[in-house]
């Protein structure tokens, strides 16, 4: 079997899936041998892919499109539609985006985060509110913002989905999720925000490896979707138990992509123009449209 190196965050959601693959030998079954490299931050996986140390990592399609416009031959295969959501405490008086005025809002991922742009776009298009102008926005590290929300310093927090799930378990509720916002802005369904990313050239020269890997990934997803028994086993990887684990499980299942790559790509292209309008060139880079080839097509 062909060896391939996948770089992931040690406690990131991807390692749940990879752990399942390894536990059940799904990689061997599909003719590849996955070598998992753990990293401590997303930046680290970026660097590792750039340095040629790993073959596959996880990131979003916008990043891929931007890199493609800059000449890199990266490509993207959908992994999950789970995205961030704006969370508020259960007892919060904030009921909808219109209540977000003169509030302190934490935003993970920075001003160019896609979820944040979608939600801002939604607020502007639908309610005529400029969230960034009318509230105090605090950008910061996701764990820190989650903690600050629990502490009550933040009135609302937009965070990555697994932080949101944990917050949900701690009694927070979703005000609006980025997927809802994206749909309101023209997407026809939940678009996979993140996916497996690899060099096209590598994929072309290792067709068995990439195909086997994607198949194994699909099988693992199916298993995790189907079987509740799988989850207690994952406790040490997920680092959660009880209700937290349940919420994480449910949200994970919701995020399993179920549309074809073509549909995804169409929606992505649509959202790209929205993002271009919202984030400008600074976000999307010089490309006017979603760079062709951003989505990897499995050979039929």
């Amino acid at each position: 079997a062909e060896r391939m190196h996948v770089g992931v965050l040690k406690f990131g959601t991807v390692s749940w899936e990879l752990d399942t693959i390894k536990t059940h030998g799904l990689d061997e079954k599909n003719g590849v041998e996955i070598d998992i490299r753990f990293f401590a931050s997303e930046d680290a996986t970026n660097v590792a892919l750039m340095a040629g140390d790993i073959d596959v990592m996880v990131s979003d399609w916008l990043w891929v499109s931007r890199q493609r416009s800059a000449g890199e031959d990266l490509t993207f295969f959908p992994y999950s539609t789970s995205v961030g959501a704006m969370m508020v405490p259960a007892a919060s008086p904030i009921k909808s985006l219109t209540d977000l005025k003169a509030k302190k809002i934490g935003v993970a991922g920075g001003p160019l985060d896609k979820s944040w742009l979608f939600i801002q776009g939604l607020a502007r298009d639908r309610f005529g509110i400029d969230l960034a102008d009318e509230n105090e926005i605090v950008y910061g590290a996701p764990p820190l913002l989650a903690e600050k929300a629990r502490q009550g310093e933040l009135d609302a927090v937009l965070n990555f989905w697994h932080y949101c799930a944990r917050l949900e378990a701690d009694g927070f509720r979703r005000l609006v999720s980025a997927n809802e916002a994206a749909r309101a802005l023209g997407a026809t369904g939940d678009v996979s925000a993140i996916g497996y990313i690899f060099h096209e050239k590598w994929a072309r020269s290792h067709p068995e490896a990439i195909e086997g890997f994607l198949k194994a990934s699909g099988e693992a997803k199916a298993l995790l979707n189907r079987s509740d028994e799988e989850w207690p086993r994952l406790e040490p990887v997920v680092r959660a138990e009880g209700r937290e684990l349940d919420v994480l499980r449910d949200r994970y299942r919701e995020g399993i992509p179920n549309r074809t790559v073509e549909e995804e790509e169409e929606d992505a292209a649509r959202l790209y123009t929205v993002l271009m309008r919202l984030g400008g060139e600074r976000l999307v880079g010089p490309g006017k449209t979603l760079a062709p080839g951003t989505f990897w097509r499995v050979r039929e």
Partner: protein, 248 residues
């Protein structure tokens, strides 16, 4: 003559950079001109001056807080052996607490605000200042202090004429490496919980893997530091070390 040296130094640096960028062409190591273009674009948009200004302010504030507190503690520990023996483990502990921990705790306790940010940076730097100034205080020549006590120097005179001149090299070392350490920690602080500043920008560009922009911001900061070095620090230092016998 010094001006010529400095100019040729810069020229050589640019040349080395240009040549190595040519030898290992890579998106992650842009040539000087690309960086300069980014610098112009970011300056024109007003982003760079804005974020740089904020970062400089934070660096300056944290620098003064850290240097003053650190020097006082360092001199105290260096001149009182029993105090030093007691607090040395504390200093070592604080010296080695990761910046991340201090910053996170500061944000958690004091909220996501300027004071917490600057305080966290200062707390990170203070142990370094202590360690350097403590060595300086230990190396102080007691004979001059004795002379001062015989001639009844006041506390201020003692500080100005006895202590500071002997501590000057340590102070210079602590501030030079201090500025740079503080700037690096400010970057982390801005990354973790501020919504402006060079660190915030650099992180943004890092996510986009835009090394040219990162370098543009970095070099803008270095330029400011060099400017201060040439116009303030070196003349001051020259004046305060004039007494040293020049090497033959």
């Amino acid at each position: 003559m010094p001006v010529v040296t400095v100019l040729s130094s810069f020229a050589a640096l640019l040349l080395v950079w240009q040549v190595s960028a040519g030898l290992w062409p890579s998106r992650s190591f842009p040539a000087p001109f690309a960086v300069f273009q980014t610098f112009l674009a970011e300056s024109a948009s007003g982003d760079l001056p804005y974020h740089l200004g904020i970062t400089l302010w934070r660096v300056a504030a944290a620098f003064f807080v850290a240097m003053i507190i650190g020097s006082v503690i360092g001199i105290l520990l260096g001149s009182r052996q029993n105090l030093d023996r007691f607090f040395n483990p504390w200093v070592t502990l604080f010296l080695n607490i990761p910046a991340l921990v201090v910053i996170v705790l500061a944000y958690i306790w004091f909220g996501l605000n300027e004071a917490a940010a600057i305080g966290a940076v200062a707390v990170n730097k203070i142990p370094n200042v202590i360690v350097t100034m403590r060595e300086g205080a230990r190396a102080i020549d007691p004979r001059y202090s004795e002379m001062a006590s015989v001639y009844r120097f006041g506390a201020l005179d003692r500080l100005r004429h006895i202590l500071l001149p002997q501590l000057q090299p340590y102070f210079a070392a602590a501030s030079r490496s201090g500025i740079s350490l503080i700037w690096k920690i400010v970057l982390v602080v801005e990354l973790l919980g501020r919504s402006n500043g060079v660190g915030f920008q650099i992180n943004l560009f890092f996510q986009l893997f835009d090394v040219a922009a990162i370098l543009a911001y970095t070099l803008a900061f270095v330029a400011v530091i060099l400017l201060i070095e040439f116009t303030v620090v070196q003349p001051l230092e020259h004046a305060s070390t004039r007494w040293r016998r020049r090497a033959a």
